[in-house]
Structure formats: structure tokens, C-alpha cells
């Protein structure tokens, strides 16, 4: 493996930071070199957030070059679209279908675009698109707040990750509060299973 790049795109408050950190911890557990970039402060307040995770022996910079994402993990459809520049035909786009409407839409009296329309635009970059109904799976696991962990599970479910699934699970265990551990483990498993099941359909 030369390098493996994951871009996590979402809205402030969706837990992208925790997901990115879990990936970083898993890489260190597996003895790999890794860089994770984050944005804090002003940029987090309900605004668009992007974290990048780069794994590989020679990786120095923490940000990903345009077109070089191996996986674009979209926590929200519009934010996935906003970060398509990181994708190319080799990229797998793994996207949560949960829509969070920017306030601009309501103010201008515009409806949120159809997710199918967004998927069509993503396909202009790559044919490899997979959708995850994270809110449904998170609720099934016990909390709507566990969507980020559902998505981590989905990442593991792709079978493409350079880190071991058990390392990722153990990273999640380190990061989530003890009392929500069961919910999060369940969320991870459901996310993982959902991809393994739908692998063929896309």
C-alpha cells in the first residue's frame, strides 16, 4: 500500500471528528503511519466540516490532494457533493442519506434537492457509490447520535480499509462514553452488515 486516503465530509455536530480520530487510532494500533486533519472553532458551528485521514509509510501532509481519495465518506448528501473534488473514478463514495437542510434553502424557499439527483452528480465522478441509511440503523442501535459510528462500521464493511476491523472497534471503545458503549458497538455492527449485504446491488 502506497497510501490510503479517506475524506470525511459532514456538518458540524455530526461527529466527523470522532470518526476521523477513530480511524487514526486504529492505524496507530496496527503500527501504521497516519495523519488526520481536523477543523475546529468557528468552522464547526453548524457549518461544513471536512476531516481527512491519510495512512501510509511516506505520508507527511494531513490534507488530501484533489482526486486522490480512496474513500469519500459523506455524512450528509450536500456535503458529499461539496467535497467531490477529492473523488475520481477510483474513489468509493459511501454516503449517508440523512439530509440536513442548510438554512439558506429555507430562507430562499427552496426545497432540498433529491438525493437521486445528488447521486447522479456523484456518478459523473465515480460509478462506485454506496448509500447508507445511518439514521435508521443508529436508531435501531439505540441512539440517533450513533450515526457516525454506523458510518465507521460501513467503512469496515467495504473490506477496503487498510486497518483491521478489530482495531477500529477498539478505537471506538476508547472514544465513546462507557455508558453508550453497547449502542455504539451495535451501531458499528449494523453499519458493517448493511454494506456487506448491499455490496452486490450497487
Amino acid at each position: 500500500m502506497k497510501e490510503f486516503n479517506i475524506v470525511l465530509a459532514g456538518v458540524g455536530g455530526q461527529g466527523t471528528l470522532l470518526a476521523a480520530e477513530a480511524l487514526g487510532i486504529a492505524a496507530v494500533k496496527d503500527g501504521l503511519n497516519v495523519r488526520v486533519s481536523e477543523i475546529h472553532g468557528m468552522a464547526q458551528r453548524g457549518g461544513t466540516v471536512v476531516s481527512t485521514v491519510r495512512i501510509g509509510e511516506n505520508v507527511l501532509a494531513s490534507t488530501v490532494l484533489e482526486g486522490q481519495a480512496d474513500i469519500l465518506l459523506g455524512f450528509e448528501p450536500l456535503e458529499t457533493l461539496r467535497n467531490l473534488k477529492y473523488a475520481s473514478e477510483k474513489t468509493l463514495v459511501l454516503m449517508n442519506t440523512e439530509r440536513i437542510a442548510p438554512t439558506e434553502l429555507a430562507a430562499k424557499n427552496i426545497q432540498y434537492p433529491d438525493v437521486e439527483e445528488i447521486v447522479r452528480k456523484i456518478r459523473s465522478f465515480t460509478q462506485k457509490v454506496m448509500l447508507v441509511d445511518a439514521p435508521k440503523l443508529a436508531k435501531k442501535a439505540g441512539s440517533n447520535l450513533a450515526q457516525n459510528v454506523v458510518l465507521l462500521g460501513a467503512l469496515a464493511g467495504t473490506g477496503l480499509m487498510p486497518v483491521k476491523t478489530e482495531s477500529l472497534v477498539s478505537a471506538v471503545e476508547e472514544l465513546v462514553p462507557q455508558k453508550h458503549l453497547d449502542t455504539n458497538i451495535k451501531a458499528f455492527e449494523l453499519g458493517c452488515a448493511s454494506i456487506e449485504e448491499t455490496e452486490e446491488k450497487t
Binding site: 480520530e21 494531513s62 467531490l84 452528480k121
Partner: protein
């Protein structure tokens, strides 16, 4: 966030994933630093926050100081009592502290002392993108510049060693991409802190009256010469790769991009990596310049290295061609760098082609994202500032002027609130308001937060009383330094050591400053707050209205902890779809699903929409 207790482990050689700022916190423990002072500010906040979490157990003292100037003063007192100290701040914090820092360089320190300043190229969370390395030149202080979290930790320890050797404060300058990058960090040994200092009276050394300052300036210049020797032999200044068709000199994050960019365009280059960037290792640089016909300087923000390296070249390598941002315009002086940006610059300089067609990606991307709605940062659902601004705008209308300040409430500039007419630096709302009010005679309402009030607004308020300026100062008091992560401040009743403290109230301070009209309101009681603000506007002199309600993020966390159920707002069938809630509030929980709807996951039940709905069509709990 993982348990920060991991920072305490005395496990040399252990490899841990840490944020750059957490790595500096670990460096603090490995350096045996015993006093840590800070004022929070992105991208530096997690240094102080990490230490605050572990200070008691680690046996060191930390404080959130009222501002960066005071933070440096406290630490300088400790360091001049022989105790190893560190102060952390964001880049603009160094401007606040500058008066102290400039002369502290003359005085020096007896214990080691490090000042961490985190620059923010691209203004991710800042009002400017100044290059703080120039403070090193200006003050003559040594400066270290890490490029990744592991180096950030190592350099914290080295900075203390240099500081002890030279008896000078040392700057440790990071950028957002170092402070907010996570990477593997290898632990060294933890050194037990020693908080016990002794103050030795020495007027010639410590009292900077002119007669004592003059000789101390000479002392400082001698120390710079000594620091240059340190720089020449520092392992952080290193030719990491020799040979190649051109030489590249770089530092910090820019070094990472430069190496990856050279690989990307298949450029065989030699690299001089600079980690100690003041004073520069002149001999080492001269030797590097002499081995090439062409040298490229790759650095973010200002041509700080380039200016000095050109001066070195004039004496030692006059024929070498130096490219960067002063000659040829290959790299910009503004914004954050990326591997792409550096690759394109290097390609222009060397004629090597970039193998990725970035232009094509950009065009395709522009096509796919045409008409994509923006999503700027906004006030959170349930944020009390939304209620405050709703009231302020209702009273002041379009004719009033609204000087604004640094903090979450700066997000009030977004539609539909549109409050905020001039915003420059911490505390400036109160000062600028006075000049505007005096010269225009317009109603002037300054808005600022509680932490900002204590940090920098009190002299401005006293000035308003003294010079009788007719302004209203609206303090949006959400009981925390919210934007940077809810750190405590003098008004919260808690310290950085997580112990109880005297709770200093904004209204008492305002009264003490001589303000005659001071009131406290609950912003969610919009009718009462409106009446009070109107009365404040009628005062002949300055008035202060404190809009007090806790940050909704803290409040929700507390409610969740206590098991208090949140009563969320619900649209009833009385809704006529008049859109008043959307047009007046811009709350992210309210959206359009053919008609107005409230997102149950986002709504915090603050009740503001309930109190403003003209048709009483929203149900739930409401303060009024």
C-alpha cells in the same frame, strides 16, 4: 475525545495518536514545565484544555488567564522565580501580549519559558492570518517551528532547554495544520514538575528603567549571537536530502507539501528543512545555497525565510537563483498551502509537468456543484445569541450601528439577523462604538461576549464613562468562552484547575466602572428584554445590558446528564406558512418540507420561535 489521562503515562517509547496541541501538552510534561497559562483561541485551545484536564494529577499549576498579556505576565513572574513555565495562545493573542513580550526579552528568565503561538493561515477561525515569526525577528527571541505533532512535542522540550541555556523566552510557532493534525507521537520520559520557586531581588536585571534597559539591550543582542550557534547545530535544522537538480528550503507544514509535491512532479530535489527559524543557521544555509544553481523557498504566509535567505545569499552565494514569493510570484503570501499549490509552483519553476490534471478536476467539480447551497457556520439551534440579536435588531432597526466583537456572536452577521457592522479584535466593539457614536450621533449598540468583556473591554468601558459616550454595551453572557470549547473565565466561578472561584459578575464590574444604567435580562424573555433595551437607549450616557443565558450546547449536555427531558417545539395546524419564524430567526432546526417544519433532532426547545409566531401556531415550552 479519548481520555486525556493517556498524556500522563510515563511510558517512554510508547506510540500514541495525538493532536498537535495534545502533543505539546505531552511535551509540557516531558519538559517538567510546572506553570501553564493561557487564554483560549483556535487553533491553540487544546494545549491549555488538555493541561487543565490533567494538571492536578500531573502536579503542575495551570490557569486560564483573563487575557494573553496577563497570561505572559503571570508566567514571566513564575519563570523569573526559577520555575519552568509555558504560555499558549493563538496568533492574535501575541499582539495582545506583545508589550510584555518585547521587554521580557530584555529581562529574560531564570527558569525556562516557552510562548506557544498558533497561526491560522486561511483564517479558519480568525480575523487575520498574520505570520507570527516576525515577532521573533522583532523581539529577538529564538523561534522553533514544528511540522507535525511528534515534532511539536519534541520541540516543546527543546524550547525549554534553549530557554534555560540562553535565559531567554523561546517562541514555539505552530499553524492550524500542525496544531489540528493528529499523528503518531512517540513518548519520552516524564519529568516531575517543580512548582517551588524563589524570587531573588536583582533590580538591574528585572527593573527596566532606562538606565538598566540600555545595557540589557546589549545583553539581548549577545544572546541572539549565542542563539545563532544553537541554530547552526540544532538537529531541527537539517539537510534531509542532498543532491538533486534544485535545492528546496522549507519549514513547518509547507515542508510536508514540498516533499509530496516534488514526488508528484517527479522532481529530484535536495531539501533543507528548518525547524529553528530564528535566528537562522546562516552558515548552514550559505553552504546549502552554494551547492545549487537554483534554490526554491517554500513557506506559508509571508516571505519570512526568503527575505533573510536572500540577504545570506548576497554575501555567500550571489549567483544562486532564488525563487519563492518575492521573485516570480510562484507562491502566494495569503491562504493555506496544499500539495497541489506547491506542485504547481514547483512545476512553473522547473518546467516539470504535474501528472494530475487539476484544471480538469476543478472544471468537473464546478459543473457538479453549480447552485450548491452554501453552509456557513451559524448560530446553533437554541443559541441564546439568536434571541438577543432578535431583540437588539427589533429595537435598533436598520438605522442603529452595531459594532461587534470576537466570539460565537460574530455569527450574528448571517441573515436574517444581519447584526454586526464593524468587527476587528477582542474588545474593539466598545471602543469603536464610541468613535462612531461621537461622530455620527447615531444609536450605537456594541455587542460582545462575557469572556471578551473580561479579556479586553473593561478599559474601553471606563473610557466610555470617563468621556461620556452615548453607547449601549450589550454583553451576550452565555457563561463560557463558548466558541473555543466552553473554557471557564472570571464570570463562571471555576478555574483552569477545575476548582471553585469567586464568580465575577459583568454587571458588578460595569457598575464599578461607573456605568449608571446597568440591567440584566433573559434574552428568551423577548418582551422584557425589548423594554429594557429601549430604556437603555434613552440614557444620556453609556449603558450596559447583560443578556444572560447559558450556551445551549452546555445547557443540553447538562440536561442530558441530569436526565431532564427536552420539550421540543412543534408546528400545529394553526400554521399559515407565513414563514415569519424562518424570516426572522434563521434557526437551523426550522426547515421547509413543502411547508414549515421543525427538525426534532436539532430543536433544543428554546421556545424563541414560539414567542415570535404571529399565529401562536408553535407548541412547546417558552420562557414568556
Amino acid at each position: 475525545m479519548p481520555d486525556l489521562k493517556i498524556l500522563l503515562e510515563d511510558a517512554p517509547r510508547k506510540r500514541v495518536l495525538l493532536l498537535g496541541n495534545e502533543a505539546i501538552a505531552r511535551g509540557i510534561l516531558e519538559a517538567g514545565i510546572s506553570v501553564v497559562t493561557t487564554y483560549p483561541g483556535t487553533p491553540a485551545s487544546e494545549i491549555g484544555d488538555s493541561i487543565s484536564e490533567i494538571a492536578k494529577e500531573a502536579g503542575l499549576y495551570m490557569e486560564y488567564s483573563v487575557n494573553e498579556m496577563v497570561a505572559v505576565q503571570v508566567a514571566a513572574g513564575a519563570a523569573n522565580s526559577g520555575v519552568k513555565s509555558l504560555t499558549a495562545m493563538k496568533h492574535v493573542g501575541l499582539n495582545v501580549a506583545a508589550d510584555m513580550v518585547m521587554t521580557l526579552a530584555y529581562v529574560g528568565v531564570r527558569g525556562g519559558y516557552v510562548i506557544v503561538t498558533a497561526d491560522d493561515p486561511e483564517c479558519y477561525s480568525s480575523q487575520n492570518e498574520q505570520d507570527s515569526r516576525f515577532y521573533a525577528l522583532l523581539s529577538n527571541l529564538p523561534c522553533l517551528e514544528p511540522s507535525n505533532p511528534h515534532e511539536a512535542k519534541e520541540m516543546t522540550v527543546t524550547a525549554i532547554e534553549i530557554s534555560e541555556k540562553l535565559e531567554l523566552p523561546v517562541l514555539l510557532r505552530t499553524t492550524t495544520r500542525v496544531s489540528h493534525t493528529r499523528g503518531p507521537v512517540q513518548y519520552g520520559k516524564v519529568v516531575k514538575p517543580n512548582l517551588r520557586g524563589d524570587f531573588i531581588r536583582d533590580m538591574k536585571r528585572l527593573v527596566m528603567v532606562p538606565a538598566f534597559s540600555r545595557p540589557k539591550h546589549d545583553v539581548l543582542l549577545r544572546k541572539v549571537a549565542e542563539a545563532k550557534q544553537v541554530s547552526e547545530t540544532s538537529s531541527y535544522n537539517e539537510v534531509v536530502k542532498r543532491g538533486g537538480e534544485i535545492g528546496i528550503i522549507s519549514s513547518g507544514s509547507a515542508f510536508n507539501y514540498a516533499v509530496e509535491a516534488a514526488n508528484l512532479i517527479d522532481l529530484d530535489a535536495g531539501f533543507l528543512k528548518l525547524g529553528m527559524t530564528h535566528p537562522l543557521p546562516e552558515k548552514m544555509i550559505a553552504k546549502f545555497l552554494q551547492s545549487y544553481r537554483k534554490v526554491v523557498i517554500v513557506e506559508e504566509l509571508e516571505p519570512y525565510l526568503e527575505m533573510q535567505i536572500k540577504a545570506i545569499a548576497k554575501d555567500h552565494a550571489p549567483n544562486v537563483e532564488i525563487s519563492g514569493k518575492m521573485t516570480g510570484d510562484f507562491f502566494p503570501r495569503q491562504g493555506e498551502f496544499s500539495t497541489r499549490l506547491v506542485a504547481i509552483g514547483l512545476s512553473k519553476i522547473t518546467g516539470k509537468s504535474v501528472l494530475i490534471d487539476f484544471q480538469k478536476i476543478s472544471e468537473k467539480f464546478a459543473e457538479a456543484t453549480k447552485g450548491l447551497p452554501s453552509r456557513p457556520p451559524i448560530l446553533c439551534a437554541g443559541c441564546p445569541h439568536r434571541a438577543s440579536y432578535f431583540v437588539i435588531k427589533k429595537v435598533g432597526g436598520e438605522t442603529a450601528v452595531y459594532p461587534d466583537d470576537i466570539g460565537c456572536y460574530a455569527l450574528g452577521i448571517s441573515p436574517p439577523l444581519n447584526v454586526g457592522d464593524i468587527m476587528i479584535c477582542m474588545g474593539a466593539s466598545v471602543g469603536t462604538a464610541q468613535g462612531i457614536s461621537k461622530t455620527t450621533g447615531r444609536v450605537t449598540i456594541a455587542t460582545l461576549g462575557d469572556s471578551t468583556f473580561f479579556h479586553a473591554a473593561i478599559p474601553g468601558l471606563i473610557n466610555a464613562v470617563y468621556n461620556n459616550s452615548r453607547i449601549v454595551v450589550a454583553v451576550l453572557d452565555n457563561q463560557a468562552t463558548a466558541m473555543t470549547g466552553h473554557q471557564p473565565h472570571p464570570g463562571t466561578g471555576t478555574t483552569g484547575m477545575q476548582t471553585p472561584a469567586e464568580k465575577i459578575l459583568v454587571e458588578k464590574v460595569a457598575e464599578g466602572c461607573g456605568v449608571k444604567y446597568v440591567r440584566v435580562v433573559d434574552p428568551f424573555k423577548t418582551r422584557e428584554a425589548t423594554a429594557v433595551l429601549k430604556e437603555a437607549l434613552r440614557q444620556p450616557g453609556p449603558s450596559v445590558v447583560v443578556f444572560r443565558s447559558p450556551c445551549t450546547l452546555m445547557d443540553l449536555r447538562e440536561k442530558r446528564r441530569m436526565g431532564i427531558k427536552i420539550v421540543r417545539a412543534k408546528i400545529t395546524d394553526k400554521c399559515t406558512n407565513c414563514m415569519a419564524c424562518i424570516k426572522l430567526l434563521g434557526c437551523p432546526a426550522i426547515f421547509l418540507d413543502n411547508k414549515v417544519a421543525i427538525d426534532e433532532n436539532t430543536c433544543t426547545g428554546c421556545g424563541l420561535c414560539i414567542s415570535i409566531c404571529p399565529y401562536k401556531a408553535i407548541e412547546g415550552s417558552c420562557a414568556e
